[in-house]
Structure formats: structure tokens, C-alpha cells
């Protein structure tokens, strides 16, 4: 049965650990790679 999130339930969570995973770096690097590719495409095909 679904129980609404109360203050007690929230406070029980106490310390929240945020984890960095290698996939996140991959997504951000891919975004930069896309931008670099677009830069070359723009330069190559815009005369």
C-alpha cells in the first residue's frame, strides 16, 4: 500500500550520498564531442 512521504520518512533518510558514475562523464564528453563535430561541419560546409 502506498504511504505518503511524511517529514519522519524524509528525515529518516538522513545523509544522502550522491555518487558519480563513469556514464555521467561519458554523457558530458559525448556532448562536447557533438559540439566539436558540429563546429567542423559548420566550418567545412559553410563557404
Amino acid at each position: 500500500m502506498h504511504e505518503t512521504v511524511s517529514k519522519v520518512k524524509y528525515n529518516r533518510m538522513k545523509e544522502q550520498k550522491y555518487t558519480w558514475k563513469k556514464e555521467y562523464s561519458l554523457v558530458l564528453i559525448a556532448n562536447i564531442v557533438y559540439m566539436i563535430m558540429f563546429y567542423f561541419i559548420s566550418n567545412y560546409f559553410t563557404v
Binding site: M1, H2, T4, V5, S6, K7, K9, Y10, M13, K14, E15, Q16, K17, Y18, T19, W20, K21, E23, Y24, L26, V27, L28, A30, N31, Y34, M35, F38, Y39, I41, S42, Y44, F45, T46, V47
Partner: protein, 626 residues
Amino acid sequence: MEIESKLHAVDWIILSITLIFIVAYGTYVTRKNDNVTDYIKGGNDSKWWTIGLSVMATQASAITFLSAPGQAFHSGMGFVQFYFGLPIAMVIICVVFIPIYHKLKVYTAYEFLEGRFDLKTRSLAAILFLVQRGLAAGITIFAPAIILSSVLGWDLLTLNIIIGFLVIIYTVSGGTKAVNVTQKQQMIIIFIGMLIAFFMIMSQLPENITFTNALEIAGASNKMEVLDFSFDLSNRYTVWTGVLGGTFLMLSYFGTDQSQVQRYLSGKSIRESQLGLIFNGLLKVPMQFFILLIGVMVFVFYQFNTSPLNFNPTANDAIANSKFLVEYRALEDEHVNIENDKRLLFSDGFQLEEKERILELNAKDLALKAAAKKIIKKVDEKSIDKIESNDKDYVFIHFILNNLPRGLIGLLLAVILSAAMSSTASELNALASTTAIDLYKRNVKEHKSEEHYVKASKWFTLVWGLIAISVACVANLFDNLIQLVNIIGSIFYGNVLGIFLLAFFFKKVDGNAVFKAALITQVLICLIFYFGIYNLEVQGLDPIISYLWLNFIGCILVSFFSLLFVFKSISKQSKITLIITSVVIFKISYDILNDVSLSITHVVSLIILFFLLGYFNFDKTIVVEK
């Protein structure tokens, strides 16, 4: 109507079978959902690829596939920059939002706000979402329906009702699971359809024109300028607005909008939900690039084939019955001459020395199109029905109907309708869940059986479906309704994102402070919109800012006021930063009141101060692990 006959029996069969199969399959496989977890969180058994496809299908509405190629046809590839903030937002949501939502086992994003703040803040955020998304669901149906009815001669009301009811059938029956299952199939159809469309365009180019030649031809007309590094705030698509504004916009959409949150809450585990968003973060930019590239290839195709001066058939019909026909025909003749000249130039591909001549011809053609739009606007003023002079939404559908073979037209129409259905289904599903969990269960009937809440959720889905169809049916009576919905989104989104960021990162801020701050921010945003945008536009003047910036301003203001309300309990550094922020906000307001428009300096200083405030008030219990 001539175009109506372009739909052959094969097209009808493919279109009907595709849509009926999706609805029937979605309804059948999810018919046994009888508890709240199954109905609202899809039984918490979705794998990452289901989540990824579902998130993409929710965002990609029919208008994405109709408008984006048209946008590229007219303005080139620059629109892709709008998505540069998306991968950043995906990472932030994976690191911060998903672990908390999953640990608290929330059913809606707003439920988390009650645990962190209080019930009133949760209800406020839920209501802001319902108002905005309720209207948007109607437009998700209306926007493709108006275009398809206009080019195919179908009845607009019937089309609205058909799209709406198809979605209602499986969404009411199977809830989130039905939405997820059908979205997988819809995305597969969309990917296949768009790939085939691309290869069909390429195959219809002259034999001596290779893909590289086609890109050179597009480049000669400046359609391949993907990146714009200028700091001009009036330019909507630059690298900076994409990375900065885009991150804020995507963070509010994917992190706080229940229609998206519900997709990844259905994940089997935190890991599956995170991988689903990573999948979206990796694929969205290239997918959008590809859709725009299709538009650019349509542009190249029309360098070798005749195209109408304006692609909107309703506008052309209206002009044919007006006194402006002779004037318009003269423009069309000139357009044909320009097309002939360009065809001659491009017959052997693109040569560098032809660049100047091409730009000259393009400039002439643009002037003709602008003159045609002026005539359409004059006809529109005298017409009872609204006639759209901007034809970007009609370019791709015109190409499909006039140049693709039998069967493929049916498939591409299935792509467009699938996209409309997938977005609408997520919206109805989210609207019903928020109404059932955040308002009905929490404020009206708290201790009822599972069965009762599933039944209530089904009724709410039906009611929201009927509201969406009603909005779609009356949408044609209002001018610029699509823009109005986007404006309403911008008015609310920033405030809601601010509330969530405060909840995640600012430990000292409590429920009372954020509630008061959210109310003040909402009033201020409405005033800024009314006096700074709407009132000026009515008078024919330029607005002080584009309405898209209201997102960002809302987010800053709610954080600023919340910290102001807990001024006593915050650290010395944040007190100093808050005072500096007050001075900056005062200076910006003073500049704007003296007709100085919002500049990049204003925006950058606000961003720096916002991050400093975040840094000084960061919740120290948060531990970042490598």
C-alpha cells in the same frame, strides 16, 4: 480536394493497422493492473531501454516531426543548439533527483516536497503543474490535427476526437505500463519512418548529386551553420542559450514535470532509471540533428524541384478566393524564375564561384516569401478563420504527400500520429496521477483501498482526456494558442524548478519560507509578463525580454526570496551574497525601467550569484562519492 486523393488504400491500411495494433496491444498486455503501484508506477519493473525510449517519446510530440524539418528548411541546423543543455540536465537528475525519489518511493515528484517542506508547498506545486500541463495536453492533440486537417482535408474536430479517444482507451485501461509499452513501439515506428524518409529524399536527388554535394548545396545557402557563439540575447538559438538556458529548461522539464518523472519512476531500480536518462542524454542531440538534417535535405530536394511560394494550403486557398490573387500570382511567377535559375546553377553540384549568385537569388526569394506573407496576413485580417502565414509546419508534410510512394505516406502519417499519441498519453497519465495522489488521496480521501485509488486514477485519466480533447476542439478559436501554452509553461516552470532546487540543496530553507517565496515569485513573474512582455507587444513595441527567460528569472527569484525569509539562520557569506544579489536585482530592474533591455552581463551576474548562493547554502549532509 486534390491532396485527399493522394492517400491510397495501401496508406489507409498501413495507417489504420499501425494505430489499431498499438492501441489494442497496449490495452491487452496491461489489462490486469489492479494496484496503485502497477497503475501509476508501471509495477516498477521497467528496464532502462523502456525508460529511455519512453522519455524520448514523451518529449517528441508530433509537432517535433512536423515543425523541426520545416525549421531547418527555412533557418538551417541552428535549432540543435537548443538541446545542448539536455545532457547536463540528465546528469544532474541522475545524481540528485533519482536517488531521492527512489529512496522515498514517491509516486509523484510533488510528493517529495511534502517530506522536505510541507503539504501546502506540495499542493501548490501540483496545482501549478495541473494548470500548465492540462492546457498543454490539449495543444499536443490540436497542433498536429490542425496541420493534418488542413493538408488532407480531414475534419479538424473529428481528428481531435479520434487522436484523443485512441489515447484514452489504453491510458485509462493500463496506466503507466500501457504508456511505456506503447511508447516503445511508437518510437520504433518513428525511428524506422524517419530513416526511410531520409533515404527516400536522398534517392530522389539527381543522380550526379552525392550526399557531400547535397551538404555543400545546403551550405551555400547557409543552412549548415550549426553553431552560433554570439552573445545576442534576442537570438533564441545560440550555444550559450542552449547550454545555460537549455540546462534550466530541461532540468525543470525532466526533473519536476510529472509527465517525465513518472517515466523514470517506473524503473526497476535506481540504476535502470539512471541508465534510461543516460540513454536519452546520449541520443537526443544526434536524433535532433538527424531530424533537422532531414529538413535540410528537403531544402536541397527543392533546389531541383518546384516548390510552392508558401507551403500552407489553407493560405493558398484563401488567396485564390481573394482580390490579392493577381498580386500573389506575380510573386509566384518570380519565385518560379528564381527556382529555374538555381536549378541551372546546381545542375553540376556547387562551385565556389557561384556562392555570391546563390546568396543573391536566396535573398530575392526570401523577399518574395516575405511579400507573400504580407499578402496572407492581409487576407487573414478579412477572414473569419485564422490563416497562418508562417508555413514551417507544412514543409515536411507537403514533401511527404507529394513525393513519397504509396504505403510510405501511410507509414509517415502513422509516425506523426504515434508521436502525438505518445506525448498525450504521458501527459494524461501524469495529470491523473497527480490529481489522484497529490490532491485526491492527500486532501480528500486519505484511507481507502488500493482498488479505490486505481478506480479514481482511471476516472481522472478519462476526465483529463476529455478536458484535453475539449481544449483541442476550442483551440482554433484563439489566436496563438500554442504560443500561449508555451508562455504559461515559462511562467510556472522556473518557480517550480526553484522550489525543487531549494528542496534538494538548501537545508536551511523551510516550508513556510519557500511557500511565501513561491507565491511572491508567481505574482512578480505574472507582473513582469504583463507589463514587460504582453502590454508592450499589444502596443507593437519590443518586449523587455523573451518569455523564455521567465523560467530562469522565476528560479532565481524564488531562491532569493526563500533565503531572505530565513536570513537570520544563514551563514555570513550567504548574507553578504544575498545583499549583493539584492543590489544586482535592483540595478537590473532600474535598467529595465529605463528601457535598457536585459543584457548578457545581467544574466551572467545573476548566474554567478545564484551559484554562489547555492555553494554557501549547500546541504552539507550531501556526500559526493567518486
